[in-house]
Amino acid sequence: MLKTYKKFPQVAVVAVLAMGVAVSVAQADDDGDDDARGAGRSESRGEGHSGKYGGEDRGKPVQPAKLNAKWKQECSNCHIAYSPGLLPAESWRKVMAGLDKHFGSDASLDAQENKEITAFLVDNASNRWHAPTAPLRITESAWFKSKHDSHEISPSVWKDPKVKSAANCQACHTTAESGDYSERNIKMPR
């Protein structure tokens, strides 16, 4: 056992190289909640019949291995390009239909760009969202609220000027731009 631990850095490096960073990043999900829906555990937790987070769960993977260049380019100007799996398909349809008034800013695209990016977002939207809801903001989804409640994140963190806005994922999720929100890459600003 001890030997295995000692070798862990080398093993990890080899594994990452072998898998390719993009793939490992896109599928990283080490928050250990994958078994929550098994064996009726979600019901025993009183979370109802629609699954974890009342059916408002982000996708797995949250970001596909194959990305769309237009999405990356156009959606990362004012904020990082949020991974498609953070919201359900219907949310993305609504967001993309209202880009001229996008949370107070004009983020309009031409028709062709809009069509291509909408298709990418819808095709890769959350595959674990079972509720009939479709929030416009990622921060309004049940999984987000649960992961970022006051037990997890002290209210003072949100007021830190380096954070400024919940839209600023990369303030703490250092690898958010590559779709990696795993716990091991969280670094609180100080």
Binding site: C78, G104, D106, D110, S165, A167
Partner: protein, 139 residues
């Protein structure tokens, strides 16, 4: 053998040069010239003014934001999005050679940002004034 490898070397250097220096579709002066063509159609057009452009850039226009809300008072410095705090590269061509080199991108962003700052599209006169100002800003 030596010749072949030097040819390959030359080719790859040439390719890398193209990759390292993407050919820009326009120069900022060409973008300015096209604003001028558009503005010339307006009555009373008497050319662009960098001073008027600076005033326009730094003023509020009835809404919450001015251009400087994101681009800061110094167009040669990096900016920060007023809402999301995302970094914005400098807007002045002297500090960022990519700026104003793609007409479609220029028009896309003037449309968006003018809507955010003025609640309407900008006139060719206003766009030309602002670009004239930005071209005077030294790094």
């Amino acid at each position: 053998m030596f010749r072949i490898s030097s040819v390959i070397g030359l080719v790859s250097v040439t390719v890398m040069t193209f990759v390292a220096q993407p050919a820009f579709a326009q120069t900022p002066n060409e973008v300015l010239a096209s604003f001028k063509t558009a503005a010339a159609g307006e009555p009373n057009f008497q050319g662009f003014s960098a001073a008027r452009g600076e005033q326009f850039f730094k003023a509020k226009h009835g809404k919450e934001w001015s251009c400087t809300s994101c681009h800061t008072d110094n167009p040669a410095a990096p900016g920060k999005h007023a809402d999301t705090a995302k970094d914005i590269k400098p807007i002045a061509p002297s500090a960022n050679a990519e700026r104003f080199t793609d007409m479609a991108k220029v028009e896309k962003w003037f449309k968006r940002n003018c809507n955010d700052v003025l609640g309407r599209v900008c006139t060719p006169q206003e766009k030309g004034d602002v670009l004239s100002y930005l071209l005077t800003v030294k790094k």
